[in-house]
């Protein structure tokens, strides 16, 4: 019931978000057809605005947008004038989703073991090495990691392609570049969570009962300590699925992240609003999924 209610709230929430995006993007100075070359006559400029209804009052434009949205249509892009925003989402989203899922898998696959080992081997060389690695991952941003990966793996050693999309080899470097930061973050979250949990009384009891250290760590400590990671995973996944402008740009990937940023820079009103609504919907749905996973992992959590 709780989850059903959350889903029902989704529609008005998206309506408010779309309205804010719609108004804010129009309030920003400069318009979609402001460019270095102006048309030869003012009539041409007027024709251009009339074609995209930009000569109408904003409330009327918003009404038109809502009516189209009800039919599942985000409208034509003002920058890529033969493409609808739906086309662009249909082309870009699968790429961002694949990259996002891979980066998410990489982040979890690296972050969880590093976090676990550093906590389990606290104060030993494994802890120091893992912790330093996790700090490095968090401190070095993707736009620094990506060129370094390209320089060594693609240009110096010629092991992997430098950029572009289409073969499994081409996803390796962007996956690492995108996922590395989150690996570090997950490792640190898990380590902290495990260290806190390990001080709890029930852990001492479990040990006193003679359970093996591995059993204590996996069955009791990890299960609770992973909850902050799960909370973090929802927004993280939404972030990753909607793409990363920087990484997509550096590796020339045809994902959605590039359009979110370029749409704003180009004042591509329809694109910005469409992608904001999509992002908001993804965020809400993934947060809901996180809550669902919470109830599965921690029986104490109940939603009314």
């Amino acid at each position: 019931m709780y989850f059903l209610k959350r889903l029902v709230v989704l529609a008005p929430l998206l309506l408010v978000i779309s309205f804010l995006a719609f108004v804010l993007v129009r309030l920003s100075p400069g318009g979609p057809f402001d460019r270095e070359r102006k048309p030869a006559t003012p009539e041409i400029e007027r024709n251009l605005k009339a074609k995209y209804h930009l000569d109408e009052p904003v409330w009327k434009q918003y009404g038109r947008f809502l009516s189209d949205l009800l039919h599942g249509d985000f409208g034509m892009s003002l920058k890529y004038r033969n493409h609808t925003v739906n086309d662009i989402i249909a082309q870009g989203l699968p790429v961002s989703v694949v990259l996002g899922m891979l980066a998410f898998g990489f982040a979890m696959g690296v972050g969880l073991p590093v976090g676990f080992i550093t906590a389990a081997k606290r104060g030993r060389w494994e802890d120091y090495t893992g912790s330093v690695l996790a700090v490095l991952m968090v401190c070095i941003p993707g736009f620094v990691v990506a060129p370094l990966l390209i320089m060594f793996f693609a240009i110096k050693w010629r092991l992997l392609p430098v950029a572009l999309w289409g073969s499994p080899w081409q996803v390796i470097l962007p996956t690492i570049a995108l996922g590395l930061y989150f690996s570090g973050k997950i490792a640190r979250l898990l380590r902290e969570g495990m260290l806190n949990t390990m001080q709890a009384e029930f852990i001492t009891t479990a040990r006193a009962k003679g359970l093996s250290e591995n059993s204590v760590l996996i069955k009791h400590v990890f299960r609770l300590a992973v909850l902050p990671v799960v909370s973090y995973a929802g927004p993280l996944l939404a972030d990753l699925l909607t793409g990363s402008f920087v990484i997509e740009n550096i590796f020339q990937l045809p994902g959605i992240g590039v359009f979110i940023v370029n749409g704003s820079l180009n004042r591509d009103y329809t694109m910005v609003v469409g992608l904001v609504v999509l992002y908001a919907a993804l965020l809400v749905v993934l947060n809901l999924a996180v809550d669902l996973v919470y109830t599965l992992l921690d029986p104490r959590v109940k939603y009314e």
């Binding site: 100075p29 400069g30 318009g31 057809f33 402001d34 460019r35 270095e36 070359r37 102006k38 048309p39 030869a40 006559t41 003012p42 009539e43 041409i44 400029e45 024709n47 251009l48 009339a50 074609k51 995209y52 034509m76 920058k79 890529y80 004038r81 033969n82 493409h83 609808t84 086309d87 870009g92 699968p94 989703v97 694949v98 899922m101 898998g105 060129p147 390209i150 240009i155 010629r158 392609p161 430098v162 950029a163 572009l164 999309w165 073969s167 081409q170 996803v171 740009n249 550096i250 590796f251 020339q252 045809p254 590039v258 359009f259 820079l265 180009n266 004042r267 996973v293 599965l296 992992l297």
Partner: protein, 566 residues
């Protein structure tokens, strides 16, 4: 139970994960014969809509016109029209369409297709930015402005399926150049009427040019395949082209260096930091290019309403220093506005570097030693691509020169691109950075932008004499007289009135290995017709290159009709 469900979710996640991997990534496509890095993603491939060079280079492969540009000289040569007659008063052109001109889907190309495509380009509903390219045609401007609704009043008519008659408002020396311009290329009527704005998504898409569109994936690639029904298909040498839409100079260079791309032909894709090394390599080609970098004065703001003050600001700029210290790609310092090398025109020399005279003039304008000069701003924008830091560096250099030579302090303001254009249009600036690239090989493409009501003027300046000179030049049929009129106008622009100050002429820049790729020629418009480009391979590389070059010259001399320009 909960644990089992968690395991189930985890398994489902893993399966989905693998499915994404397999379906999303494993899509190998056969490789193209030639891969070209083409610059930013095209806004459209509709010839009536596009405005940028990177788009024009692609659309010329898909959509043909009555004429096309010679790959070396960029003079108009015959394309879908094999011949034409021009009336003695040079106001009526009669074009004869080739009998073997076909759409890629097999239907014949007719004069009616031209009438439809041209009327569509000036139809207000199409909202073409470049509709102005057709305004030399009788009633085209009025039709675009909605003043006349009947398209049959526009001066373009099909006399029969193979004959097109075009009436102009006045003699237009560059009309055959315009016939090769993308806005005047022909597009498929049935497809457009059926699919509206999304007509370019249809496959197979009827093409009139040497190539047809196979794939267009945004920010990924555009693939084109040879159109076997193009009238000159026998001389189209490359089967499949891939065009990569890449805006980052570093990515472009990396792709080229690792062999993933054969050609990079966008001058904004040159990493400026590496210019000193790159320009000396044999696979880097520079050439004279029809572009000028300049700055504008807002002549409605004091004290720039005084031409003496504008002249002062021009006289103290050491342009040689700008091209040697900042741009460094071989640009030429510009004293005039129309770049050298334009057909039928010798530009007039403008003002030189003369700080002494500038200081005298500044004193006579009421600001001796810069005293009392208001604090004004020079606005410029944050550019993308290779020009990323160029505008800022030039702005800093100009600021320094004005400070050192005149004692005048000008503030610099860098603003976001779209805001910058809006600000410039509203004349909300004192001084602003600008540039202009010519659309066709004629001085008019530069000079007419400063006519009083031209949307590209954006200085607040207007001069009745200048307008009169431009109008007279554009209807003059004697090329020598026309040149004189243009020279007088340009002199007014850059010697007497100075609403702008030219700084340097652009240089074209692209890279490819001439031992591997043939058919790209440096030319003033930086246009490279696709049908001439091909990869050379094998041991007979040199021989093949020479033979192909002789072949091409012969073919173009055969194609060139007796009267190519009026």
């Amino acid at each position: 139970m909960g644990r089992q469900r968690a395991c189930g979710i985890f398994s489902a996640f893993c399966i989905l994960y693998l499915a994404f991997l397999l379906t999303g990534c494993l899509k190998p496509e056969p490789s193209a014969d030639l891969v070209i890095v083409n610059g930013n993603e095209p806004e459209s491939l509709d010839p009536a809509i596009i405005t940028g060079l990177s788009e024009m280079r692609l659309t010329q492969g898909l959509w043909a016109g009555l004429t096309r540009l010679h790959p070396k000289t960029v003079a108009p040569i015959a394309d879908l029209a094999d011949r034409w007659e021009i009336s003695p008063d040079k106001k009526v052109y009669t074009f004869h369409i080739r009998t073997n001109a076909l759409w890629s889907t097999g239907e014949p190309i007719t004069a009616e297709d031209f009438v439809y495509s041209w009327i569509r380009a000036i139809n207000p509903e199409t909202a073409s930015d470049y509709a102005g390219q057709l305004f030399p045609i009788k009633n085209a401007e009025e039709f675009n402005a909605g003043k006349i609704k009947d398209s049959s009043l526009v001066g373009v008519h099909a006399l029969d399926p193979r004959t097109l008659r075009v009436e102009l408002n006045q003699p237009t020396a560059f009309f055959l150049d315009l016939c090769a311009f993308p806005t005047l290329n022909i597009v498929p009527r049935k497809t457009i009427e059926q699919y509206g704005d999304r007509w370019l998504m249809v496959r197979p898409l009827p093409a009139s040019g040497p190539y047809e569109l196979v794939t267009w994936r945004l920010n990924d690639k555009i693939r084109m395949r040879k159109n076997p029904r193009y009238w000159d298909a026998a001389n189209v040498r490359t089967e499949v082209f891939d065009f990569l839409p890449i805006g980052s100079p570093n990515t472009a260079l990396n792709l080229y260096e690792t062999g993933a791309a054969d050609v990079v032909w966008d001058k904004d894709l040159i990493p400026v930091e590496l210019l000193d090394d790159l320009k000396n390599r044999p696979d880097y080609h520079t050439f004279t290019y029809l572009g000028t970098y300049f700055f504008r004065f807002n002549v409605t703001h004091k004290p720039f309403d005084d031409p003496r003050v504008r002249k002062v600001f021009a006289l103290v700029i050491n342009k040689k220093r700008l091209v040697e210290k900042i741009t460094k790609a071989g640009e030429q310092a510009a004293s005039h506005f129309v770049p050298p090398g334009v057909a039928n025109y010798q530009p007039v020399p403008g003002l030189g570097f003369d700080p002494e005279n500038a200081r005298r003039l500044l004193a006579s304008a009421g600001f001796p030693g810069g005293k009392g000069f208001p604090r004004l701003q020079y606005k410029f924008f944050a550019a993308a691509g290779g020009a990323a830091k160029l505008h800022a560096k030039i702005a800093v250099e100009l600021q320094q020169m004005w400070r050192d030579e005149l004692g005048v302090e000008i503030e610099l303001q860098q603003i976001e691109r779209k805001v910058f254009y809006a600000v410039q249009s509203k004349l909300d600036y004192d001084l602003s950075q600008s540039s202009w690239i010519g659309d066709y090989n004629d001085a008019n493409t530069f000079l007419d932008m400063f006519m009083t009501n031209n949307g590209n003027n954006r200085t607040g300046w207007g001069n009745a004499r200048y307008d009169e000179l431009l109008r007279a030049a554009n209807k003059e049929t004697d090329l020598k007289l026309r040149e004189k009129l243009f020279q007088e106008a340009e002199s007014l622009l850059i010697r007497d009135e100075l609403p702008i100050v030219p700084l340097y002429f652009y240089v074209g820049f692209n890279y490819y290995d001439p031992n591997k790729v043939a058919g790209i020629y440096p030319n003033i418009l930086d246009q490279h017709p696709l049908q001439d480009i091909r990869k050379i391979s094998g041991s007979s590389r040199r021989k093949e290159a020479l033979a192909a070059s002789a072949d091409r010259q012969e073919r173009h001399s055969l194609l060139m009709p007796a009267a190519t320009r009026n």
